[in-house]
Amino acid sequence: MTLVRVPPPLQQDVDLSQTYDAVIVGSGAAGGMAAHVLTSRGLRVLMLEAGKKLDINQELRSMQWPYDHPRRGDAPPGSHALSFNEYTIRQPPYAKGSAFKHVYSYVGGWGGSDYVKNILVDEKDHPYTGSNYAWVRARCLGGKTNIWGRLALRLSDYDYKAKSHDGYGEDWPISYADIAPYYDKVDLYLGISGVKENLPHLPDSQFQRPTKLNFGEVKLRHSLAEMGRVLTPYRAGVTTDGVKHNKYRSKCYGRGACDRRPGGCDIHAAFDSPTGLIYPAMDTGHLTIRPNSIAYEVLIDRNTGRARGVAFLDNLTRTPYEAKARVVILAASTLESARLLLLSRSPQHPNGLGNTSGHVGHNFCEHVMGPGVTGLVKEMVGKPRTLDDGRPGGFYVPRFRNLTDRQPGFIRGYGFEGNSGHSMFPAHTNTPGFGAEFKKTVRDHASAFISMGGFGEVLPRYESFVDLDPEVKDSWGIPVLRFHYQFSDNERKMAEDMNTTAREMFEAAGIEVVGADRKTLTEGWSIHELGTARMGSDPKTSVLNQFQQSHDVRNLFVVDGSSHVSASCQNPTWTIMALAWRSCEYLADEFRKGGGNL
């Protein structure tokens, strides 16, 4: 198979005089999947992306060595990435009054920050207000999928039917059996690597070849098995055997440096929306993309009450345009889609579009993170190097709390993401001292550390919400989001438990704990925001039906994470894509039948 390095033409003629079958706002995991499913069913689709259509290989430079970059991967002077302290001590908008020319979210402080400066938004142009929140946004074709963490997990009926399990919140309007065939489709179309574990709370995927564990991870896996817990190789949204139907993606060669997330994956073995979904959709001839298009309102036909298109501003010229379509699909991300619904106010929809329930922007949830441990695998001290950094990730420890047991302090659960072994930059450089002894210590310990951090389910609450700030606007004059969101006692108790169990598991495995992060990171840090336009069968308490279709406006769909009813503790990207696939098949079926239900 020859890898096609040249993407479809970056410039397209966009005809805004015609009425498209569907207009999609956003080009990340959700928008890309909607484009794939609808164009493969023959619908003519216009995709609006707020950011640039970057030549992503030029941006990522995955295999550039640090020493071949003038600042070893750091962004140029004048750029600043927000720190944990700034997020904690200051209030949004965080970039207000900053002396720096550009201010980025904390992701701009990851190693290789120079590679994300055109992917992340500049906080100076994109303010928000209200409570503390580390909001990470990527505006470019593919959005956050260009630099995502790649952990690709399924949800189970412990999640879809969580209320039935513990009485809190709402059940989803679907069960695992409804979505399982679509998880399979996503697995087979995009490729996923992992090992079958037969866990009821973390269903297996249609896996390709797994990455391997290293010594410390095997040691921990064996020890956890005795406790009835599981450590499984990172379930990565990475094609390890290749996807023959996609000429834009190569299989994984295990080459590294995979730790450097801002470097992305320039052979696209790791899933990203442009090569995985959008380029193939363009090859059908049915997809038109208009980049630099900032949507600010879903347009409604005054007579029929139906959506008739999307109003947007050109990012560069600020000229307003209208895109006309028979179906409108929002996939702008959990918070941006909610913002767009709230911005779309009209006499018929005074509280925002699709919001007769009053739930748009509410039930906002995500994952709490921060607690974690680092341990020393003493058998590995002084051992020869292995290529641990040629893996998309290390390992995952699935949820073990509140499955058959019932914790006194909190409901729901958490999992751990972990990694160990050698990375490009050695782990032990904070060891004190200097000289030959320091240098040898760093060298001897470089492969000997193992670490993991928890991701816990944050409960959806009506009181956790975003609305529009009445005064503050972004650089394009569009009202910004105001956050009313903070962790509750359930999350705090859960985080304390993460601290305890993480340490306990390492110690039981004979791994000496040499570092522990006890603090909980700022709300938003997981970049897994969900729930602001939730699905449900009751239009009084939900925004969308089980096909992510607005209860109020039948030709309006919201196919991103905003539709999720609860956060689960599993990473959401694979579920976002499975749901979008299911909804868009329904949409295409209805469309072909004449659109009576649209």
Partner: protein, 187 residues
């Protein structure tokens, strides 16, 4: 574009001018014995003066020296890397902290050894750095504060250099691999 280029040239030449002036001023102060000091860096940096750069070069090499396994910070060009970052920085306070930090090293050396760092014997230099590193966990004096900054940037510069990654760390990645992944199957 014209503006940017013009500004760039202007600021570069200004930096060079300052560096040259500082080097000229500093030169007569150096006694003849300088010539016998090991591995002096004769040239001025983009931000640091020639004597400052020579001092930084020696300090980085003492923190990460050449050993029988791999070359150290001097061979990896760490001092020049730090100087380059300082030169393009837009934070005058940070630049000034480095300048005064290097002065503090000489100050401490005069206090302990009666002469500037580069004129001291190897043992005397080691004593200075050992004193600076004593407060690494909780730095207190200016030389102690400077040590944490110096070490952080030396580590950063060295382990992102070709020598650091390829020779010292023997990093195996970032090249196309053949065959299976290394490691163990999950079982």
């Amino acid at each position: 574009m014209t503006d940017t280029t013009g500004h760039e040239e202007q600021s570069l030449s200004r930096r060079e001018m300052i560096a040259a002036t500082a080097a000229a001023l500093a030169a007569p102060l150096l006694p003849a014995t300088t010539a016998t000091a090991p591995s002096p860096v004769a040239l001025s940096g983009k931000f640091l003066t020639a004597p400052e750069l020579a001092l930084l070069d020696e300090l980085t090499e003492l923190i990460i020296p050449t050993d029988d396994h791999s070359p150290g910070a001097r061979a990896a060009g760490v001092a020049a890397y730090i100087d380059g970052r300082l030169a393009e920085s837009l934070e005058p306070e940070w630049q000034a902290a480095w300048r005064s930090g290097l002065q503090a090293v000489d100050g401490l050396s005069r206090e302990l050894n009666g002469q500037p760092f580069l004129l001291a014997t190897p043992d005397q230099r080691l004593a200075v750095l050992t004193r600076m590193a004593a407060g690494e966990r909780a730095p207190n004096t200016p030389p102690e504060h400077f040590f944490t900054e110096l070490k952080r940037w030396t580590v950063q510069g060295y382990y992102t250099s070709k020598i650091g990654i390829r020779l010292d760390q023997e990093y195996k990645g970032n090249v196309y691999q053949q065959g299976e992944y290394a490691g163990y199957d999950a079982k």
